[in-house]
């Protein structure tokens, strides 16, 4: 089933520069898709369009079978959750539990049911011990975990991560990437759209969509993309560490299996 269908989407902030040009894409239910692109390529704009924060100039967006328009927007927003870049600017409640409760309050959920839902969401992201903490006592990674909990508590079908790791330190970044993979494992039906320029993170996803100058130029699984040096050079992409390591090993005469993981490569080196 197609969860997100975007058809010939055009968008511009002002009259001169077109930010998105004829963008069409389809995302399957339960897929983990990375949207990559350089700064100013329009990838964050695409994220905001998908959740109806911006209105497209032309073209249509269909989410979970519902066309995105004024009448459906609230229903679509209950199915799509988005985590933004800056951990501070999406923390609305005074404490972790209040912040998670904010999402529930908006959905008009009975207050007696809230504590249970909050606890579940917080433990899903590993923040159960921080429920009464205020944002100033949390690290960036922890705040982003709370932002993910805010999204999860609403039971979304689609989770959009709009550069959610770009303002975090390396350990926070890894924390969040690992959490996303964990969530994916637990809930096979959750569609994850990660807008990122972190190539390591994109490498771990099921599918990569590359946007350049407002146009979708590539849409293929990461293994295919990074096995083709032609494509990497053509679009000036970084090479993930795993791919680099494999290439270096092959160049040095090691026999490397295409499917082997980083751990296996490590073992191979230590042998």
């Amino acid at each position: 089933m197609k969860n997100v269908v975007v058809n010939k989407l055009n968008f511009s902030y002002d009259k001169e520069t077109e930010v998105l040009k004829d963008v069409s894409l389809e995302i399957e239910k339960g897929q983990y898709v990375s949207i990559v692109g350089h700064n100013g390529s329009g990838k964050s704009t695409l994220g905001k369009l998908l959740i109806g924060l911006l209105t497209p100039k032309s073209g249509d967006i269909t989410i979970c079978g519902l066309p995105l328009n004024k009448d459906n927007i609230n229903e679509i927003r209950s199915k799509v959750a988005i985590v933004f870049q800056n951990p501070d600017n999406q923390f609305i409640g005074a404490t972790v539990e209040d912040d998670i409760a904010f999402s529930l309050e908006n959905q008009n959920i009975d207050r007696k049911k809230m504590p249970e839902l909050i606890k579940k969401a917080a433990s899903d992201v590993g923040m159960i011990d921080f429920l009464t903490k205020e944002p100033s006592y949390l690290s960036g990674g922890q705040k982003q975990r709370v932002a993910i909990a805010d999204s999860l508590v609403r039971n979304p079908e689609i989770l959009i991560l709009d550069e959610a790791t770009s303002m975090l330190d390396p350990s926070g970044k890894e924390e969040i990437t690992r959490l996303i993979l964990e969530l994916k494992k637990k809930n096979k039906d959750l569609t994850i759209i990660s807008i990122t320029h972190d190539i390591e993170e994109a490498y771990k996803s099921d599918h990569i969509i590359l946007i350049q100058n407002g146009e979708v130029v590539l849409s293929l699984p990461p293994k295919e993309l990074f096995n083709s040096y032609e494509l990497i050079e053509k679009y000036h992409l970084d090479i993930p560490f795993e791919v680099k390591l494999k290439k270096a090993l092959i160049d040095n005469g090691y026999k490397v299996d295409e499917e082997s993981s980083l751990d296996e490569l490590g073992e191979l080196l230590c042998r």
């Binding site: 927003r77 959750a81 600017n89 609305i92 409640g93 409760a101 609403r154």
Partner: protein, 294 residues
């Protein structure tokens, strides 16, 4: 930036902390009114203010507010206190009793009624500071906004958007620490580019403050845009129906505290009404049968 610690919420679990914020606000207002009711004869005023002071000190101790912090917050008021005394002592007032002149500077007689008046105002100020400090350091800022929202409920009848005001207030409170961090970061960034924030030259000072305020405002506006996006994406509709996670509850401990404060307020109010009806309410006279001291 460090003076802002005054009255900051300290997370203990004492009797006062557990009270309903609505009760606390009401009690604070009652006590403030009681403090400002003026009752003739100094000795009575002194005794009554002393009793209120004693009560507040006991409340402060039980709610684990450090007396040291209280004096620290008073230290910011020193200039005001000195100014008040100067104003009261050196500005002639026809109401002062000419018999009460202590000493003369040239032809101007310094009246000790002036010291009494000044001292009384200062005492009131100190009591007010104590009250606010007790309220803010035992109540979470968010609980205060919930309480204010509750008190504004009648305005719903005139279609006043109480919920929106309360949400705005709570977001403002939530962002105070974030913006303080930001301010410190900008100060450091600008100082490293050569802006001198410690200059005594007032014109330079204004210039350096501008270099702080403009980036701070720009960043606050950017933040607000991102925040509104995040709120909208999470389904916030200011005019829609929402449930509430936090609920305030009035319990028996609130009733006890309220009765105590009401007794103090009622006592002082009764005395004031008796004065208005022409009774002599000199406490010293009542208790000891002695004549008024002053």
């Amino acid at each position: 930036m460090n003076n802002l610690t005054f009255g900051r919420y300290s997370p203990y679990d004492t009797f006062v902390h557990r009270l309903d914020p609505r009760t606390k606000i009401l009690m604070m207002i009652l006590l403030m009114v009681a403090i400002f009711l003026q009752i003739p004869t100094w000795s009575t005023t002194l005794i009554l203010s002393g009793l209120v002071l004693l009560f507040l000190v006991i409340v402060m101790i039980t709610s684990k507010i450090k007396i040291k912090d209280f004096f620290k917050s008073l230290s910011a008021m020193w200039i005001m206190i000195i100014l008040l005394i100067i104003v009261y002592v050196f500005i002639p007032n026809p109401n002062y009793n000419p018999a009460h002149i202590v000493f003369k500077i040239g032809t101007y007689g310094v009246n000790y009624d002036a010291f009494y008046q000044g001292g009384y105002i200062i005492l009131r100020l100190v009591l007010m500071v104590m009250l606010t400090m007790i309220l803010t350091s035992t109540t979470k800022p968010m609980d205060l906004t919930y309480a204010l929202e509750w008190y504004m409920t009648p305005l719903k009848l005139v279609k006043f958007p109480i919920h929106i005001v309360a949400m705005t207030l709570s977001i403002a409170l939530r962002f105070i620490p974030t913006l303080l961090d930001e301010t410190n970061r900008i100060i450091k960034a600008q100082a490293s580019r050569g802006v001198d924030y410690n200059t005594m030259n007032p014109i330079k000072k204004i210039g350096s403050l501008l270099s702080l305020i403009i980036p701070l405002f720009v960043s606050a506006i950017n933040r607000s845009e991102e925040l509104s996006n995040a709120m909208e994406a999470r389904g916030y509709d200011p005019y829609g129906k929402r449930t509430r996670y936090r609920k305030l509850s009035f319990r028996w401990i609130d009733l006890i505290a309220f009765i105590v404060v009401l007794a103090i307020f009622g006592g002082i109010l009764t005395l004031r009404i008796m004065v208005a009806c022409g009774y002599n309410v000199d406490l010293i006279y009542w208790i000891f049968g002695a004549k008024p001291l002053f």
